[in-house]
Amino acid sequence: MVAQILGRAETERARAFVEAQGLAFETGFDELVGVYERDALVAAGARAGDLLKMIALAPEQRGGALLGTLVTELVALGYAAGHAALFVVTRPEHVTSFERLNFALLASHGRAALLESGHGLAGYLAAHRPLVRPGTNGAVVVNCNPFTLGHRHLVEQAARAADTLYVFVVREDRSQFPFPVRMALVREGTKDLSNVRVLDTSRYAVSAITFPAYFLKATDDVAEIQMELDAVLFAEGIAPSFGVRRRFFGTEPACATTRAYNAVLKRVLPRFGVEACEIPRLETGGAAISASRVRDALRRGDLAGASALVPEVTKAFLASKDGAEVRRRLLGGGGSHG
């Protein structure tokens, strides 16, 4: 029998079961589903947004129909909640089990593998094919929360070292500046650079799927595995379609998560023929310009201080009505990434 697991006692049973299979039990899911046989839990799994996680099967039940039963239920609930495509992060040895359920492998790296249902990545690449130019191209992946003089400097430097530079703006909307605003500021702020193309990352780079730690601020082992998956997916799944042979990123003086990510990029990308190019950050007043410095200034209500660190286009946005709304939220808010 398949059932949604509700209530504290049942959830605790599921936790014990999931942990007994060697997986970490994390709360923060939309649904937790269990498969029962004679009142005993034989499989459990959860869905958080479009990510399936904590998929656990009793060892004596593996290799049969149980995974199909569990995933059918999770996919059905996910579809009803509006997620046509779902992702799963699992161990490399379970990849074929999910491929048999029509999941497609996106990236596999040592200790973890990422798969998706549907033709999401193929569709994303096909949709962007008209942007692809021949040559030795480069890429930067940026959140731009918001777009600063530092980002502008990075893009300028990178554009000089590439035939076409693709600027991938992180689509994930967990930042203080909403995605459409971040995207518009980058487009407007780089439109004078003729070999720069701005596009969004969809879910395929630095998203909660490839990279939950970026948004959760953990720098443990799990975070490193996720960063490696993200780097492999970029190098193997995205870069070749765009002719990208170099990925550029800024040095990171402050944030430990971003610094760890830079180290992973330097280690992983060259193995796939993508050069990792670290560019020194632009500095003012003895400190690197970063979006978090801009947000810190806004949190203190220092609009002039923030404006000194950003290009005209961002300045204009901060002074606008929508910008005032973001500033108002920041005045009472917490931290995240740039």
Binding site: T72, A80, L101
Partner: protein, 87 residues
Amino acid sequence: MTVSKKAQAGTMQSSDVMVFVEPAPGLVIEIESTVKRQFEHLIRAKLEQVLRDHGVTAGRVRVSDRGALDYAIEARLETALLRAGRT
């Protein structure tokens, strides 16, 4: 008729197919299958026949197939269409 709301039928078990239907401006069929290379054309022909029989002219039909035989494909798609209701 056109598909007026989201619906699904079937399972991800071996020899079955999971069918998802939702509104779309035109008729779109997307096929994922473990036997896609050998049988995609037959799966598509079956889906198109069922859609024709039901007079469906617009909607997105996505199937995740694990080697379902054609009567199973027919039954699953028909069920999904009935669940989606008709307009």
